[in-house]
Structure formats: structure tokens, C-alpha cells
């Protein structure tokens, strides 16, 4: 797993509504990346 101080790898992913988001689009402001297990499982 990546740790504090390491560079966050850039990526492009689809949004739920069909758009695209690149991490580097957010350069200049903080970003929170929340990885989580399957939706609706709660854990």
C-alpha cells in the first residue's frame, strides 16, 4: 500500500453518470480518495 510522502499515481476513471475524472484535474487543491468495499455492503 502507498504511504504518506509518496506520489499519488494519476488515473482516469468513469463516473457513475458516464463522465470521466482524472486525478490530475484536481492539481492545486486537496483530494480525498476513499476506497471501500462493494456498495451497499457497509463493510
Amino acid at each position: 500500500m502507498l504511504h504518506v510522502g509518496e506520489r499519488a499515481p494519476d488515473f482516469t476513471l468513469r463516473t457513475a453518470d458516464g463522465g470521466e475524472v482524472r486525478l490530475s484535474d484536481y492539481r492545486g487543491r486537496p483530494v480525498v480518495l476513499a476506497f471501500y468495499p462493494l456498495a451497499f455492503t457497509g463493510g
Binding site: P9, A16, L23, G28, V32, A34, P37, A39
Partner: protein
């Protein structure tokens, strides 16, 4: 804020709507490329671990929450980290 799920787009959309999230929810399914790049993919169970990264404006990871049980802690610590980053940015 970005949320990354390994779920399908359809159910991720339903999930986002059910929570009325103010940020995009992204699908990393079915390749899990991003989850693997960040080292949070559980190969055995084929799901993400619950991990939150806070990335600063330069693209460097500044805070990590790795706790499978305490969901509240992820939101709390992420907010604190973003506030610290924003407060420490003299250009704004």
C-alpha cells in the same frame, strides 16, 4: 472529493444517489487498476480494502486512514487533513 469503488457503474450510481453525495463516485471495475496501483485491492476476496488517502495539491499523499471497521474515523481524519492542508496553503 472522489470515491473509488470496485462496484459496477449502475449500482455505484444508485449508491451515490441514495447517499446524496456531493462528489463523484468512480468505478474501478472490472480491472481494479487503480485499486491495485494504490495497493488496496484484496486479491483473495476481489474487493477493495477500506482505505482513505488525502492527496495535496501537488499530488503527494499527506494522510492515510487504514481501518476496516471505524467508518467514521475515515471521514473525520480526512476532513482534518484537508483542513490542515488548506490552512497551510499561503497562496489562498
Amino acid at each position: 472529493m472522489l470515491g473509488i469503488s470496485v462496484d459496477t457503474f449502475a449500482s455505484a450510481g444508485a449508491f451515490a444517489r441514495s447517499l446524496d453525495l456531493g462528489f463523484p463516485l468512480l468505478g474501478d471495475w472490472p480491472q481494479f487498476a487503480v485499486s491495485k496501483a494504490y495497493g488496496v485491492f484484496n486479491e483473495e476476496r476481489k474487493v477493495n480494502r477500506r482505505v482513505t488517502f488525502v492527496v495535496d495539491g501537488e499530488g503527494v499523499i499527506r494522510h492515510v486512514v487504514d481501518d476496516p471497521r471505524d467508518v467514521e474515523r475515515h471521514a473525520r481524519e480526512a476532513l482534518e487533513a484537508v483542513r490542515r492542508l488548506t490552512a497551510g496553503d499561503s497562496s489562498t
